[in-house]
Symmetry: C2
Subunit: 288 residues, 2 copies
Amino acid sequence: MVVTTIEKINLFNQITKTQVRADVILGDCLNVLKKLPDNSVDLIVTSPPYADQRKSTYGGINPDKYVEWFLPISKELLRVLKPKGTFVLNIKEKIVSGERHTYVMELIIEMRKQGWFWTEEFIWHKKNCFPGKWPNRFRDSWERLLQFNKQKDFNMYQEEVMVPMGDWAKTRLKNLSETDKRRDNSRVGSGFGKNVSKWVGRELAYPTNVLVMATESSNKKHSAVFPKELPSWFIKLFTKPGDVVLDPFLGSGTTSIVSFQADRNSIGIEIDEQYHKLAIENINEYTK
Amino acid sequence: MVVTTIEKINLFNQITKTQVRADVILGDCLNVLKKLPDNSVDLIVTSPPYADQRKSTYGGINPDKYVEWFLPISKELLRVLKPKGTFVLNIKEKIVSGERHTYVMELIIEMRKQGWFWTEEFIWHKKNCFPGKWPNRFRDSWERLLQFNKQKDFNMYQEEVMVPMGDWAKTRLKNLSETDKRRDNSRVGSGFGKNVSKWVGRELAYPTNVLVMATESSNKKHSAVFPKELPSWFIKLFTKPGDVVLDPFLGSGTTSIVSFQADRNSIGIEIDEQYHKLAIENINEYTK
DNA sequence: GTTCCGCATGAATCGATAG
DNA sequence: ACTATCGATTCATGCGGAA
């Protein structure tokens, strides 16, 4: 368990003392979740092991058993989430004997029966997807980001993720070249809102439900499951400083890192001892 | 019914006579489909009315009745499709009382029970999507393009839709040439010749399963459901000249136009008399 | 310091081979 | 026949070293 206190200077040049906790818990998420109190988490953002992936740590969940495996977990997540909180689930179906498996479709239907609202489906467009060539399909360059809520009324801070829309963007969109039509080079709607202050005075636009982000594959130290921008974007969108973010499948610690950096408390659960250790190392490194 | 004969000069400068038919049929697609013979269509590409859309023509299908309404149609489509043919379904779920409806999820599951293979889900990323702002969601800038097949083995002509590579391609090509020269000077190495020849002159890459295309908003005459590039892309990918393309919800005639332009026969079915008339007008205009 | 270039590295999938 | 493992395929990205 990691508990940290930091001092930060906020955007208005006022010195504030912010106490931010980053708890990294070793254990099976279902058991750990049962110990968390009701209505205590503002945002759950996670990327659970996909079917037949991460066999070493999760034993490789069979696609046919995936829904059955996940439903008890989502039930606990529903309990610990605050009424106005949000659950963002990063997932993609595997190909089984030449066709897409339907476990994600079934999961959505079953989670609604549990009481979840399926508010939206964002698309994560991975520009640098895995290479390969097959006779019957192209490379898979997108994943689902399913937004679930406990009720229709939830917290959403849209202004925090606005993206710059300069004149160049308008011109580009007007005069789409042949290449532009085929390839995505535009940053609008990509979810990049890093230095919004730099763009003050320019025109800002709301993003769409398609996020264009590259994976961080080249980082040798820790093979990040998803790029930091991804949880960071949802944290800015669905929480405010001081809120609590939960990731029941923490992996290498990405969610905890970006939560800490954004002054949000976080709870990360990881079943694998090696990943748990790695997560703590990464958090300490990125939050020095 | 429109029957047309055109003369074309093909790539080898040999004058050939190509007979391409574009049949545009007025009627309810379920009734018309029943008259089509088994295993006669190479590609079905369509954008059916979404739930509660086009109320005037289809009476506004209730989201809860959508699957029930579509299944008899998809059953006929399965029958008329050739064994190695493909069905591309452009669809997106509507928002019902604040959340995404699950009729598309249910449709996929039910169509598999009918015998369809759900091979892949392409994403159509609409860069210039409909403007607007809502307190609880962003603009919807993507739609599903569901690929269904009759069997695991189907026709696919991947080379027809290759896209230009990134800038690094030139560098890579240059380097390969350098390497090739060095190898030629230093050693005989018969095995290397093949590899190099594969890359020479190659500046194209295979696309992914995310299509970035802008909608055609400029045309005032008819609010086109999808841009011509969309059916055109799938026609090139899944058929060859002389094949038969079917669109059971033709609308303003886009599928027939691009089929004709690509030397594919087409069958378009449209229930609404005004749209049927418009489709014929558009086809005649674009194929002069 | 910049910019440029080479290089390793992926939540992959298929088909062939082996047990 | 059915499952398990392995090699081949392929391209955007960021890092590190070099000019």
